[in-house]
């Protein structure tokens, strides 16, 4: 038997050569972060590559991961569903901008209740998630659903066990509508759930809701649509019961004054508007104002500029809501004022 040691040395030498040979590397456009916009970012990337030949490698490692990696400067841009506060942006030398809007949809599995049949408002939803409402035939639920035959069935709350932007949007909404939720639980990508079971990912929640009778969960719109689970109609800020549709998500952002929100810090839950879906949210991109690699960032911003100008149809086809033109203009303007000239698209 030939000594392993010889082979080991040979291999180490080989790897050393490989490292040395590759130290000079071309511009690499890499982004990381939120899982929620991953489908549309990959669609855009494919279309952009077909058109310009520039490839984008976006990896859905999670919003927290996206923020951590842009801070560690291992990626060209970070992506997060939870916007950073203007102060945090300032401290890190970062700037952020929204890309698309999506919605979070409560879903239920109650025998005899069809999709869109059940109506809930924010307060009742919070009480269910807090464990204050234990059965589906509770007076508060009955009051909102006079015609619906609600069984005496225990409520099984299903929530995301992993930290996620979906959690942030959902809990931000509950915090707005229920003082008890705001003080007891709060709003974040991960919270201490008072009751219920946890499931991994949107897919895990959808699966659990499909299986557990009496369950209530919440998923991103695309998952509710793909899994054919019964969604809930929500009573919005104007007191109207709305269905979760792309139009309703769009309506939620219609009156938002993005241009005057510092750092585009806007949480789109419980927005005014007759048709507005109350649990909507935008997803954000983080880049440096003065990047270490201005050329790579320029490529990244060129990509997003292209997406703002040409990507709306793709976004709509994939159940995302594109931003209004006024917001896009505000974003372009913010690039000019915040980001060094070398990185301007």
């Amino acid at each position: 038997m030939k000594p392993f040691t010889n082979r080991l040395l040979g291999l180490a030498a080989g790897i050393a050569v490989a490292c040395a040979a590759t130290s000079a590397l071309a511009v690499d456009l890499t982004g990381a972060g939120a899982t929620f916009p991953y489908p549309i970012y990959s669609k855009w990337a494919e279309a952009y590559k077909a058109k310009t030949g520039v490839g984008l490698n976006y990896q859905p490692i999670g919003s927290g991961g996206g923020i951590a990696q842009i801070k560690a400067k291992t990626v060209t841009f970070g992506a997060s569903d939870k916007p950073l506060l203007p102060g945090d942006l300032q401290a890190a030398g970062l700037t952020q901008f929204p890309t698309v809007i999506g919605g979070v949809v409560p879903v239920v599995n109650i025998p005899g209740v069809k999709a869109g049949e059940l109506v809930l408002d924010g307060k009742t939803l919070a009480d269910i998630c807090l464990g204050n409402i234990k059965y589906w035939d509770d007076a508060a639920v009955k009051k909102l659903n006079p015609g619906v035959n609600l069984p005496h069935l225990a409520v099984v709350g299903v929530h995301r066990s992993d930290g996620s932007g979906t959690n942030f949007i959902f809990t931000a909404y509950l915090s707005k509508k229920s003082p008890q939720w705001a003080s007891q639980v709060g709003a974040d990508t991960a919270v201490e759930w008072p009751t219920g079971i946890g499931a991994k990912g949107n897919e895990g929640v959808a699966e659990s809701v499909k299986q557990a009778s009496g369950s209530l969960g919440y998923v991103e719109y695309a998952y509710a649509k793909a899994n054919h689970i019964a969604f809930v109609r929500m009573i919005n800020h104007d007191g109207v019961a709305v269905e979760p549709t792309a139009e309703a998500f769009k309506a939620a952002s219609a009156r938002t004054d993005w241009a005057h929100a510092p750092g585009f810090f806007v949480v789109l839950t419980d927005q005014p508007g007759h048709d507005a879906w109350p649990i909507a949210g935008a997803t954000f991109i983080l880049v440096y104002k003065n990047p270490a690699d201005p050329k790579a960032q320029k490529e990244a911003l060129q990509f997003f500029k292209w997406a703002y100008e040409n990507g709306d149809a793709l976004a709509e086809a994939n159940d995302y809501v594109p931003l209004p033109q006024s917001t896009k203009d505000a974003i372009f303007k913010s690039w000019q004022t915040n980001i060094v000239p070398a990185s301007q698209p």
Binding site: F4, S23, D28, T35, Y38, P39, G55, Q59, I61
Partner: protein, 282 residues
């Protein structure tokens, strides 16, 4: 009196033998169950596209070619680097260390490493390599996998070497063989089957690792080519399976099942081939 005793012994014997038969049936039952679901979910609609197309978004008829390539590269490097180190370490423990304090320490440390959550190993390699290199890379991914390979190989190598009867070593020593020669041509040879098992267990262990690659290899939607590829973010099959399985699209779910079937079949084939080699040699 004696007849009662005999009857009792016979019954005890039969009961336990039946129980052991049932144990084997349970083990085989699980395997059949898991494999059959994998095959029914993965083989339906299986297409060779997955070997030719790279990962794409939902609805674009993507494949797994870049992920398969990345996994092969990183697993190979990790095994080629990690196995010799593990074998040498296991040899130290079994042949030189034995009852020494140093060996006790190494053994202990190794067993703890063996059960370390792989995401922490990924984190460690990330801290050591990635910020220094300035970007994620296949090398970092392979390094993280190698750190997982080493303790597995150490554990099996030591176990197997300790099983080699001392009389063999003594016989070789009596012929005047130096120690290193005895180890290389007697004990390693006697324990070869076990050492190969260790390497296989290591491959099996890392072939499905997702967590340690998250912050090291990172993943890549495109191809990486040549030597430069090792230095850039690299795709891997488990990462793609993980992302696809948690996506909303049916076609990506299908791809995840196909990938899962593929990994499992690869490991399966690998171990059977290795076994075949072993049986041919003796």
């Amino acid at each position: 009196m004696n007849r009662v005793l005999y009857a009792r012994r016979r019954i005890t014997n039969n009961v336990f033998l039946i129980l052991s038969l049932m144990a084997a049936a349970i083990g085989l039952g699980w395997l059949t169950l898991i494999l059959s679901t994998l095959v029914t979910n993965g083989a339906v609609g299986f297409s060779f596209r997955i070997f030719t197309e790279i990962t794409k978004s939902s609805g674009s008829n993507g494949g797994l070619a870049n992920a398969i390539g990345g996994s092969l590269i990183m697993t190979s490097i990790a095994v080629v680097v990690g196995t010799p180190i593990g074998i040498m370490d296991g040899t130290y423990l079994a042949e030189y260390g034995r009852d020494r304090l140093s060996a006790f320490l190494v053994r202990f440390v190794n067993d703890i490493l063996l059960s370390a959550p792989s995401i922490l190993i990924g984190l460690f390699v990330y801290e050591v390599l990635v910020p220094r290199m300035g970007h994620f890379s296949g090398i970092a991914g392979a390094a993280a996998l190698a750190v997982i390979v080493i303790p597995v190989v150490v554990r099996t190598t030591e176990n197997m070497l300790l099983l080699v009867p001392n009389t063999l070593r003594e016989a070789a020593a009596a012929l005047g063989s130096p120690r290193s020669h005895i180890i290389r041509s007697v004990t390693w040879r006697a324990a070869r089957a076990g050492i190969v098992t260790g390497a296989l267990l290591a491959i099996a262990r890392i072939s499905g690792e997702t967590a340690p690659l998250l912050f090291t290899a990172f993943g890549n939607n495109g191809w990486v080519s040549g030597l430069t590829g090792l230095n850039s973010p690299m795709a891997s099959l488990p990462l793609v399976i993980y992302n696809d399985a948690l996506s909303p699209s049916d076609d990506l779910h299908q791809l995840a099942w196909e990938g899962a079937l593929l990994i499992t079949l690869a490991v399966l084939t690998l171990s059977i081939v290795a076994r075949f080699f072993e049986s041919r040699r003796y």
